[in-house]
């Protein structure tokens, strides 16, 4: 295993754990984007550029949009 892969793996493990342990939804949404980025890097060093791209667009666009919209909706609650 090359050092780059080792580093990426450890970062993925660490970031994944942090996401789960972070209980504040907004911070978690941001951490989740970071986690997606570490996965993207890992997939790149695993020679999987297609999956890395897919992870990048999903983690950078799709997740944040739906997560932030849901968080904002839930935060603004009780306004009806």
């Amino acid at each position: 295993m090359i050092p780059l892969q080792l580093a990426a793996l450890l970062m993925v493990g660490l970031a994944g754990t942090t996401v789960v342990l972070m209980r504040d939804p907004l911070r978690m949404a941001i951490l989740n984007a970071v986690y997606a980025l570490t996965l993207t890097i890992l997939f790149l060093v695993f020679q999987s550029p297609d999956v890395a791209l897919s992870m990048l667009v999903v983690g950078g666009i799709a997740y944040p949009i739906v997560l932030l919209a849901a968080i904002a909706r839930v935060r603004s609650g009780g306004d009806e």
Partner: protein
Amino acid sequence: MSYLPYIVAAWLFVVGLYGIVTSRNLIHLAVCLTVTQSSTYVLLLAIGYKHRATAPIFYGVPVGSRAVDPVVQALTLTDVVVSVTVVALILALTVDIHRDAKTVDPDEIEAFRG
């Protein structure tokens, strides 16, 4: 060392489950579900990896070069799409539940007993 990627995958699977079981917020829970699912990406891609091999894209690389497994990558692509859809559905349910119950804590929603 040569099993570390697989161990990380197993770890992510269980950590995600831990998050789901202990979650007090459905949005948090939805993300924990994606962490559990991400373990399968890591596992699949780690399994298909080969040392000193290129990506299975023979663009500027001669055909017949040593390349990693393309099948696991195709499977992971499908897997990523699945995770987006499940998160979207759970978040939609969360928004609805919040409107009706004014809470997003799964332990406080009490529609069923027995």
